[in-house]
Amino acid sequence: MMNDDEIPILAQNVRRAYDGPLVLRDFSLSVKKGSIYGFLGRNGSGKTTALRMLAGLIKPGSGEVRVLGFNPFTAGAAERQWLGYMSEKATIPPNTRLRSVLNLGRALYPTWDAALVDSLLAKYGLSPRRRFAALSQGQQRLVGFVAAIAPRPKVLLLDEPAANLDVVARREILDDVLALIRDCECTVLFSTHILSDVERVADHIGILSNGSLRVSESLDSLKDSIRQVHCFGFKNGIPREDLPGSFRTVRTREDLTVTLRTDATLTPESLAQHWSCQCESRALGLEDIFVELSLNQGILP
């Protein structure tokens, strides 16, 4: 069994509702130290609720949540200094000057990296004298990111970090996340709808659906295992029945294309033998995988 150092982010059988139906149901998640975990799911699937729970803003209805071994809701300042969080929405009041936010961070975190802050502000073109109301939505997100990353946290939770950002700023944020990982072995959990970002930086992904985690594995393993197999030259005619466990099957008069998860027993070769045909398989991009899973595997909002 791995300890808290090896699994800094852990949720077990978590249930949570807001005055009605469950938003999270039997949600379990474990993220290994030093990994960048992309958290995917359709709108309303419970990503933000899960992240807010991990950040200690809300409590689980039942189940257990641990970040670096502590309960994030009841954790004190000494524990929380290792946890960085960036919300999906603006959380800093509009009248506040950026300088006040930085002063607060400097006073609260012994590990506050002022040099990193200066370099990030210069890079993003942000002046500490400016008030939040005077910043664009994208700039406000950049400030949220700077405030989350500057304490050099061990765990960084980012809720839609790239929303409202232009392409350049988005890339810069992702590069900064990667640099942070390189420097201090930070564990990052971030939610996003931009799958190209996940492909660029994440090494693990989780797909949340209807309040529970349906998929949680390494990106490479997912991309290797989910294949689109094109079958043709059937000797006994095109099979009428779908392959058990396949995501989607498209038939034409002469051939058949099936999307499936391959494993030791189910390979394109075994399929060719089973159907007496020829098969060619191709890997899918993450976006295609997500769409296939969403449309055909009951991945609900």
């Binding site: 300042a77 929380r80 959380t91 009248n95 607060l104």
Partner: protein
């Protein structure tokens, strides 16, 4: 981490989040200063205006702005105009410290003007009171220590009562009543915080507290006002009421901290 350093950092952040709330004590001070300038330097505000409830609604106003801004507004407005609570609670802070810093700022704003006026009134400690209500007039003479009846200063006006060290007495009373209202408001805010209809409860109670005591002016009720009645009770049991108020502030705040620590925002 050093608790005071943490407290001070949150306190300063709180001030920067609400720069305009600092102006509210100036608005609170108006009823004190207008009679002073209006009537000349030798006259103090009379007892009736000092005891009116006109100012107390500022306590409620400052309380909701500082202690729990999110409960006084619609959720959609909170999303557009963040209060900073979520930001603070996701930093390296002890949850109770957030409320402690907010409460310190709240009590500072509430008490700064009454404390200032207390020192200001020491310059001329005797208080001249013009009381038109006969029952209240008799009660002042009967119950307020150091009160002496005198002639009217102008023909047609009510007879004046001079209260020795009356301005200090009223000044201290003011601090006491603000302290009481402040702790009641703080406890009330955190009592209703988790409730579903907290916004409605908050504003209905707020307006009821503002307007119900004023109803006597409309209804033309005779006798001492609510403020005067409380004042007479205060005069009779000053030491006890001060000890009770200070204990209530400490215990009330600690209760709020515990509640805040366990509550979701």
């Amino acid at each position: 981490m050093n608790k005071f350093r943490q407290f001070w950092a949150i306190f300063k952040f709180q001030v920067s989040v609400n720069p305009f709330v600092i102006l509210l004590p100036l608005a609170m001070a108006m009823p004190y200063f207008i009679p002073y300038f209006y009537a000349g330097k030798d006259t103090h505000p009379d007892l009736v205006s000092l005891l009116s409830n006109a100012n107390l609604f500022f306590v409620g106003l400052i309380a909701v702005i500082l202690l729990a801004p999110e409960i006084s507004r619609y959720k959609a407005y909170n999303a557009m105009w963040p209060t900073g609570t979520e930001f603070l609670l996701t930093r390296a802070v002890d949850r109770p410290m957030v409320l402690r810093a907010r409460s310190a700022f709240f009590y500072f704003l509430i008490l700064v003007i009454p404390v200032f006026t207390l020192f200001w009134t020491l310059k001329a400690p005797d208080l001249q009171v013009r009381e038109y209500d006969k029952l209240a007039y008799e009660k002042i003479l009967d119950q307020v220590p150091g009160s002496i009846a005198g002639p009217a200063s102008h023909p047609g006006m009510a007879e004046e009562i001079t209260i020795r060290n009356g301005t200090s007495l009223v000044g201290l009373y003011h601090i006491w009543i603000y302290l009481c209202i402040a702790v009641c408001t703080e406890v009330f805010v955190y009592l209703i915080y988790p409730l579903r209809y907290r916004q409605i409860i908050l504003w209905v109670t707020f307006y009821a507290c503002v307007f119900i005591p004023s109803a006597r002016f409309v209804l033309h009720t005779n006798g001492p006002s609510l403020g005067e009645t409380v004042f007479f009770a205060y005069v009779a049991h000053q030491a006890l009421l001060w000890i009770t108020a200070i204990a209530a502030v400490i215990l009330g705040h600690l209760w709020c901290e515990r509640r805040f620590e366990r509550m979701e925002q």
